[in-house]
Amino acid sequence: MSEKNNIDQKKDRIDHIENVLASVAAGDIDARINSDIEDDLSGIEAAIDLLIDDLTDELKQREKMQKEVEDKLVKIQEQQKVIFQQQSDLLELSSPVSKVWDNVLILPVIGTLDSQRTQVMMENLLEKIVETGCTIAILDITGVPTVDTQVANHLLKTVTSARLLGAECIISGISPAIAQTIVHLGIDLSSIKTKATLQDAMIYAMKQNKRSENVKLQSLFTDYDKREE
């Protein structure tokens, strides 16, 4: 009798274990066997409980890490947005054209000249030439580390379009290393006025200014003389 009872009881407990395992498998990680009876089966029950505990921990850990990764991803995406924003800001900032003297514009170029930037630079320069009526523009490329054929091509195009608007361009700030590189590349920049330093370019621009002023003065004088006569 007690033997049969015992077997029934064990069967119930095994059923319970099965139920618990099934609910854990279904995702209820809080299910435990929690048996109070001490016998041969209790060891197995305790081991299963422990395993479920471990599994729960692992799952929680994984969820936590997943969340961290997702957070980081969001952060990176935000940073990328900022970078793009700054890139476009820089594009605007990096091509300032300013009038430094009567009739003289200056455009300091710093960093890398890619096609997009050159486009912005050229537009700014041409607009400013029309707006101010200046006839001399200095492009200072001291801050450009590498001049390859594409950059040289862009510079040539900028200078040519400025000339079409009646302005003379002077390129200054060509370092000895870049000068040699340009020669080796075989690029012909002889159609452009170039000066070693910005200072030289300024001095040249002033001289040009003086000359044109003299011409203006002379024509004024001749007008005056004519009137006197």
Binding site: T112, D114, S115, Q116, P145, T146, V147, D148, T149, Q150, A152, N153, S175, P176, A177, I178, Q180, T181, H184, L185, G186, I187
Partner: protein
């Protein structure tokens, strides 16, 4: 078919992909850094950087982007910086024409390849129609 010089004793410095104009700039800056590390003078740094810039532009404009391998090692018993540009683009139809001054198949000035050749100590090019182009340039220290 022309074979590119190679040596198993060369030390690999890096492998980079070029898929945008921005990549051109960053790889170029790395080349300048490697050249500096090898104690090249400022003029040689500028030369190799400019040559690499030409090749990367070609790769980006005509080859649809590609890979750059940077190595250092002995070539003719001289410490050398070796840069290999590999693309899987349409290839160059007439190499002799492409290597001549003033010829361009696109909108460039036509000084890219011949100019790059003049800027480095050794220049090797291998191109197959519809398979791609590989250019290896070397600059002694």
């Amino acid at each position: 078919m022309l074979q590119l010089t190679s040596d198993n004793n060369w030390k690999k410095l890096g492998e980079h992909h070029v898929n945008s104009e921005h990549d051109i700039v960053s790889v170029r800056q790395l080349i300048r850094y490697y050249a500096k590390e090898m104690n090249m003078g400022i003029i040689d740094q500028t030369r190799i950087t400019t040559a690499v810039s030409e090749l990367l532009r070609n790769m980006y404009n005509y080859g649809g982007g590609g890979e750059v391998h940077v190595e250092t090692g002995l070539v003719d018993e001289k410490q050398t910086l070796i840069v290999t540009c590999i693309d899987e683009g349409p290839g160059i139809e007439d190499l002799e024409l492409a290597m001549s001054d003033g010829y361009t198949s696109g909108k460039g000035m036509g000084y890219g390849l011949p100019g790059a050749k003049r800027l480095v100590d050794r220049f090797e090019i291998k191109s197959e129609r519809n398979k791609g182009t590989t250019v290896r340039i070397m600059k002694w220290k």
